[in-house]
């Protein structure tokens, strides 16, 4: 139940104005205080709950196909990645990215650029999480690079957009590449 409330609030957070975001933030703090005795802050809740939420999101990613509003789930995901605990996220990053890539391919082939454009900020956030984990020398991040083609799979999808006339696509593609230089440089 708590994870459902959190997911609902993440969805609202992305869509609302600054004042309403503040109210939502207050709700998040209230939930954390009332639901979990061991958690003093919302960050503590995220540390405690991130793994469950990520697993839920990976499952729920599959149902984006049947939703009429394609954009909302990606907006929720964006807020979610902002808040989540990086350690827990890295554990499931490969699986998460694989699912996200499938949706990227599908929307790209359907020429639904509006929805495709929502995945770019997500890729950027994911790579920022991996890159910052690299800076703090986390073993999970190194494993992702050593055993999989995860970062490359993102870059190969975003690279054609470097030449896109829409500057937003071009900007995100270059940013994504820039952020991935550090983790890529650690893999020989």
């Amino acid at each position: 139940m708590t994870s459902r409330i959190l997911i609902y609030l993440f969805g609202k957070f992305q869509k609302e104005t600054d004042l309403q975001r503040l109210l939502i933030w207050n709700y998040l703090v209230k939930i954390s205080r009332e639901s979990f005795a061991q958690c003093e802050t919302f960050q503590d809740v995220m540390k405690f709950y991130s793994e469950t939420l990520i697993r839920n999101f990976i499952d729920k990613l599959a149902i984006i196909n049947i939703l009429s509003d394609h954009q909302l789930p990606f907006q929720i995901l964006r807020t979610f990645i902002w808040f989540l605990d990086q350690g827990a996220f890295l554990k499931y990053a490969e699986n998460f990215i694989t699912h996200l890539n499938k949706h990227f391919d599908r929307f790209y082939l359907q020429e639904d650029l509006k929805t495709t454009s929502l995945i770019f900020p997500l890729y950027k956030l994911i790579l920022e999480a991996i890159s910052s984990a690299f800076s703090s020398n986390q073993e999970n991040a190194k494993r992702i690079i050593a055993n999989s083609n995860t970062i490359r799979s993102i870059l190969m999808r975003t690279k054609p957009f470097i030449l896109e006339k829409d500057l937003n696509f071009s900007y995100y593609s270059l940013e994504i590449f820039k952020i991935s230089c550090l983790p890529l440089s650690c893999n020989f």
């Binding site: 083609n149 470097i162 500057l167 071009s170 900007y171 940013e175 590449f177 890529l184 893999n187």
Partner: protein, 156 residues
Amino acid sequence: MEREEAKSNFSPDDPENVSIPESLGPVAWEIFGLIAHRMKVKANPSIMLECLQCLQEIQKYNQTFLINERRFENLIFPVVHDFFSKETLNRVELKILDASWSIISKLALQNIPSNKTFIEQVNAFSQESLKLLQKNPSDETIENLKNLINSCVLLK
């Protein structure tokens, strides 16, 4: 000069790209052409700056990448040089100039074997850049950039 990725099992003909290792050299090799091409669009200076920042990031972690195959010399420097054939600088253009000289200064420190024409072009560009900077009101950023340009003595 051999490309660094020649040591691995890299194959640009691989349709699935499965054998391309996930490391900076090969991935940068795949993306560099697009960055160089994008930089030619002079109408978007902010994207040009992004491109240069990407190159700075590559240079930070793989110092020989821009030297190999004379990538900077043949594909990037002419575009940058051409871009600054103007009278004044705005904020973004100043950042572009700063990023360009930051890359050149690191190349200069590596004492790269460059041809005479390139050295002459860099010297001419340094004079043009200093002249351009003198037209802008002096502040800390501009003074630092002037020092950076003057410090590239290894190429002279």
